[in-house]
Symmetry: C2
Subunit: 221 residues, 2 copies
């Protein structure tokens, strides 16, 4: 049985990834990061997904990160969350510089110490043009650096994997539906209300993915 | 004036690095990491060095990291600190997997958000054979990955620098003495006593460096 570490954001993509890896019989540890998000809905969602799968779940707090990174809508209460369609310009405001690298480097270290065969995360094709740290060449480069930096302190074949990196969100949702992912427990909206706002870039993108997958988002009444 | 972020561990190398960068007129932000070290002496030392230089200093807590990484003498109270000469085997026990990468990725993100021209850290030649994440090729690889992952979210020329990477500890101490680094405020010992233990690998290495630089460690009576 392969042991792996999966990063759970609480969103639909990483939930589907965890279900996918679990379905192939891997022994999973899940990790989430509390980097000072404006709300805790997605961390609660991540815990629910881990609970559904019956896997170990760790939340790594990064308490001062948000304060040290001013200017991002995800961490700075003074910046408005961009509404409307996910145009590159507005989505760029939601970037926490190097966020994926930070999460992945911590996950990689924990995975080394726990003798895992891989670290998996839910980057997908739809993000490539906006988020440079979701691109295949970046994942490859980072894996190379991580492997060099932990030579002798990890399983020799340890890998950084992003199995959905060439799939778009609709394909992921479709796969999730096949795997019976409880999408009602996932959270994608940038806002922390009791229901998704339906207006932010993430909500628009998620609605579109469900529509294209020929289904409906159970979170939207 | 170049703005830069320097990682301060509280030890002699990073203190000398901060003094070196300050001496060339750079505008510095200092960062330290609280990853669950067995003692806080080195964080206090880092704060003193930043205070001496009159620069901004941030301590980034990584509160659960130690618990998630069992088996390292630096974070796990159950493992003995290796004594005696710094043989590769005993020093290896002090490795927190991917620690440098974790600290550097956070520092890189903070540096992006603060419009810095570089992130600097005190890796030196003496560590190359033991710590894979102190080697020049690793620094180069990591810089490449960081730059890819933050394209469009950083100064175009932002770099990851390790100015002492080809110097040994004796050469660094020598340079530090020229720069009037207050070595009495630095802390290198793995133990957290009121004085260095004189026995751990770090103490032995530091004593040797001062001797070879033709000086005496002000911490040792």
């Amino acid at each position: 049985m392969t042991k792996g570490l999966v990063i759970l954001s609480g969103g639909a993509d990483s939930a589907t990834l965890a279900f996918e890896l679990d379905a192939r019989g891997d022994d999973l540890i899940a990790m989430s990061f509390d980097y000072g998000q404006r709300h805790k809905r997605e961390l609660e969602a991540a815990a629910l997904i881990a609970q559904e799968l019956g896997i170990e779940h760790h939340v790594m707090p990064l308490p001062r990160l948000g304060k040290l990174m001013k200017g991002s809508a995800l961490t700075d209460g003074d910046v408005d969350v961009p509404h409307g369609h996910y145009a590159a310009e507005t989505m760029r405001q939601t970037v926490v510089p190097n966020r994926n690298t930070i999460m992945l480097s911590i996950a990689w270290g924990v995975a080394c110490a726990n003798d895992c065969g891989y670290v998996a995360f839910g980057a997908h094709a739809g993000d490539h043009h906006i988020y440079p740290d979701c691109r295949p060449e970046y994942v490859q480069q980072l894996e190379h650096a991580f492997r060099m930096g932990t030579e002798g302190h990890r399983r020799a074949d340890m890998a950084l994997i992003a199995p959905f990196i060439h799939m778009d969100k609709a394909a992921i949702v479709k796969r999730g539906l096949e795997l019976d992912v409880p999408f009602e427990h996932t959270w994608t909206c940038y806002e922390g209300g009791s229901r998704p706002c339906g207006k932010c870039g993430s909500c628009v993108e998620r609605a579109e993915a469900f529509a294209r997958a020929g289904s409906r988002d159970p979170l939207v009444p």
